[in-house]
């Protein structure tokens, strides 16, 4: 059985080499854009004193959720992070999550719409998503390195790949869930495909799409943490450093920081989606 090894690994390496050799201009362009995006976003956030930004985030939480509890948690949580001396890595992490999520939405929502409206595309995409979601997360780190080298861009690339599936899946589900009779009514009045999409299907699918985006954000956060292994800074980087330097206390603090950020993002996003219903 081991006499002949099917060259799966080799083939993939060959493919990656081919892509790196021939499409590096694309990866370079992506790299430049993303890198400056990250830098600008981080610079903006670091420009303000932490307390101001913390108040801003708490206000944002209040605005989206209309719940004092969530706003208060945001305030206290972020102050705790600041107090632990983790403000800069947290800003870093949030920036990476935001940018990855943006990419994931820009890619995922249109793909989800296409999958919902086109049966053939649906049948092609769904098995790929299943495959992608059963892959262990850090496998996605591997192809990122030859394309983008170590650093935040590679981290964002693998994060986007890892976190896009739920955006696609739930967008598709949300649109498919729009009752047939409503689509029929829209047809009966002579709507175009676009009118149907924007006036009926997307508005009705919004809560489901938001749930997908929420999942995307959560996955992005977990991946950004893992991506510390390939040079992403941020809270994950702090954990990673702590492991290497055997500082369990420091690592634990960074872990708490991650949990706080996760809870804040989750609660806010849940409200954004739920509000529509």
């Amino acid at each position: 059985m081991e006499g002949y090894k099917i060259p799966i690994g080799q083939s993939i390496e060959a493919l990656i080499d081919l892509l790196v050799d021939n499409f590096s201009f694309i990866t370079k362009a992506f790299s430049n854009v993303t890198e400056s995006g990250i830098t600008i976003l981080i610079n903006i956030m670091m420009f303000f004193p932490p307390w101001l930004l913390i108040l801003f985030f708490a206000g944002l939480a209040w605005f989206f959720s209309k719940k004092e509890g969530i706003a208060a948690f945001t305030l206290i949580g972020l102050v705790l992070i600041w107090n632990m001396g983790l403000w800069e890595p947290t800003v870093n992490t949030i920036a990476l999550v935001l940018i990855s999520t943006m990419f994931a939405i820009v890619i995922g929502v249109p793909l989800g719409i296409m999958a919902a409206l086109n049966d053939i595309f649906y049948k092609i995409v769904m098995p790929i998503l299943d495959f992608m979601q059963t892959m262990p997360a850090f496998v996605y780190l591997i192809p990122a390195i030859p394309f983008f080298g170590l650093g935040p861009v590679a981290a964002i690339f693998s994060t986007v790949v890892f976190s896009t599936p739920p955006a696609i899946r739930l967008t598709c589900l949300g649109i498919k869930q729009v009752p047939e009779e409503l689509v029929e009514a829209a047809d009966a009045f002579g709507s175009t495909k676009w009118q149907k999409l924007f006036k009926l299907q997307l508005p009705i699918a919004t809560p489901t799409i938001m749930a997908g985006i929420n999942q995307t954000i959560m996955l992005a956060l977990s991946m950004v943490v893992i991506a510390a292994m390939i040079g992403a800074k941020g809270l994950g980087g702090e954990v990673w450093k702590a492991i290497q330097r055997l500082q369990p206390g420091r690592g634990f603090e960074a872990g708490i920081g991650i949990v706080i950020v996760a809870i804040i993002l989750d609660r806010i996003m849940q409200r954004v989606g739920g509000k529509q219903e």
Binding site: P179, E181, L182, E184, A185, A186, D187, A188, F189, G190, S191, T192, Q195, K199, L200, P203, I204, Q276
Partner: protein, 395 residues
């Protein structure tokens, strides 16, 4: 030219309709075809027409193919074979894009299950059809509000469908179709969700609107009362086949087969009901002693009628038509003596209602209901007879 005409329309549900079509031609029934081929027969060989300004009611038991037939008219369901013409244009031959534009122009539709958009307010729902035709927002709103008023939902325009009762939602669905100004209305059990009182109101309202709008309406109902009240003609379906087509009188008086008989037997009330129970008070009377042609004519004009009964010494003396009265006026007659005619039918109060149909059918004037002393106790017009029957029919 008919507004809508449908020729040999078939709809078979399933992947290989040809096989089922062949079996249908061999005279197999819907159930047999279902058993042998697993294909559902929605509509089989339906042909009928609807004229401009006419209300045709399609009736039949649940599953008889009413919705399928109506959906084939605007091709929400693609017919398996057969043709649909609207204004002599072959709807079945339109491309997808042509069909879309055609629907905008010609069809308003009210759905059995409302199919309101839950994320839109009542007004936004009603405006939908205009919105996709890119009507100006101002005009859109005006027409939307007008339609909302027509269905009696003024004040609710900012509510969402989920905040309304079933009957109100149904009316929003109606308003959504009315706002469009399409020349054809397809109404699938449009009033089924309404309670009896509001239902009667909406039927009256529809008839009133129809007076001024003169739309072409295809109305589905499984309620005979409603069909009798609304329909200029009625089409009865069973297992996808049209079993009888005709006016309410034709269907009531000469049912084509047992199915129709069973359908209308609830309304065999017409044998039980008498002239007395379906007559109405005359809108206006003329008095031989005091009224001349001029005042008789004025009475007819104000009441909006074209003939008037004349009373003399507490008895029914005759009838004057508007045309004759006008003639007499020109001649300078001072009394009704020379224009009064006895050329009308009168019946006793206990005449069975089914004997009234033939009398009404070949008579443009109302029937007079007179008692044994020859006193006029009421009159019967076509509408009041059908309404009377419908009111007492069983739903």
């Amino acid at each position: 030219m008919h507004k809508i005409s449908i020729e040999n329309l078939y709809k078979i549900f399933g992947p290989h309709p040809e096989k089922a079509l062949r079996l249908l031609e061999q005279g197999k029934t819907k159930d047999e075809i279902m058993q042998n081929t697993k294909h559902g027969v929605g509509v089989a060989n339906a042909s009928f027409y609807v004229d401009e300004g006419e209300i045709v009611v399609i009736m039949g038991l649940s599953g008889s193919g009413k919705s399928t037939l109506v959906r084939c008219i605007n091709r929400l369901i693609e017919p398996t074979s057969g043709k649909v013409f609207v204004d002599n244009e072959d709807v079945t031959a339109l491309s997808e894009e042509e069909l879309r534009v055609f629907r905008q122009k010609h069809f308003g539709m009210v759905f059995q299950n409302f199919a309101l958009f839950p994320h839109r307010t009542v007004l936004q729902n009603v405006e939908y059809g205009l919105e996709i035709q890119q009507t100006e927002p101002q005009e859109r709103k005006e027409r939307g509000m007008q339609a909302i008023e027509q269905v009696g939902l003024k004040g609710w325009e900012a509510s969402y469908p989920s905040q309304l009762s079933g009957g109100m939602q149904q009316r929003v669905g109606l308003a959504r179709a009315l706002a469009l100004d399409a020349d054809i209305m397809l109404m699938d059990e449009a009033f089924s969700a309404l309670d009896p009182l509001i239902r009667r109101d909406m039927q009256d309202e529809l008839l009133m609107l129809q007076e001024e709008m003169q739309k072409t309406i295809v109305f589905i109902s499984h309620d005979l009362d409603e069909a009798l009240r609304l329909g200029d003609r009625i089409i009865l379906m069973k297992d996808g086949v049209i079993v009888q087509e005709g006016t309410a009188e034709e269907i009531l008086t000469s049912p084509a087969n047992d199915y129709v008989v069973r359908f209308v037997e609830d309304v065999d009330m017409s044998k039980v009901l008498t002239a007395e129970s379906v007559m109405v008070k005359p809108a206006e009377m003329a008095y031989y002693k005091t009224d001349g042609p001029k005042s008789a004519l004025r009475k007819m004009k104000t009441a909006g009628i074209s003939s008037i009964f004349v009373r003399k010494d507490r008895q029914l003396a005759g009838m004057v038509t508007a045309a004759d009265a006008a003639e007499a006026l020109k001649r300078g007659d001072k009394t009704l003596e020379h224009v009064m005619t006895e050329n009308f039918d009168s019946v006793a109060p206990d005449t069975p209602a089914n004997e009234l149909f033939p009398l009404l059918a070949d008579n443009n004037y109302p029937l007079a209901v007179v008692n044994e002393k020859n006193k006029l106790v009421g009159i019967i017009i076509k509408g009041s007879l059908l309404a009377g029957l419908a009111e007492r029919g069983v739903s």
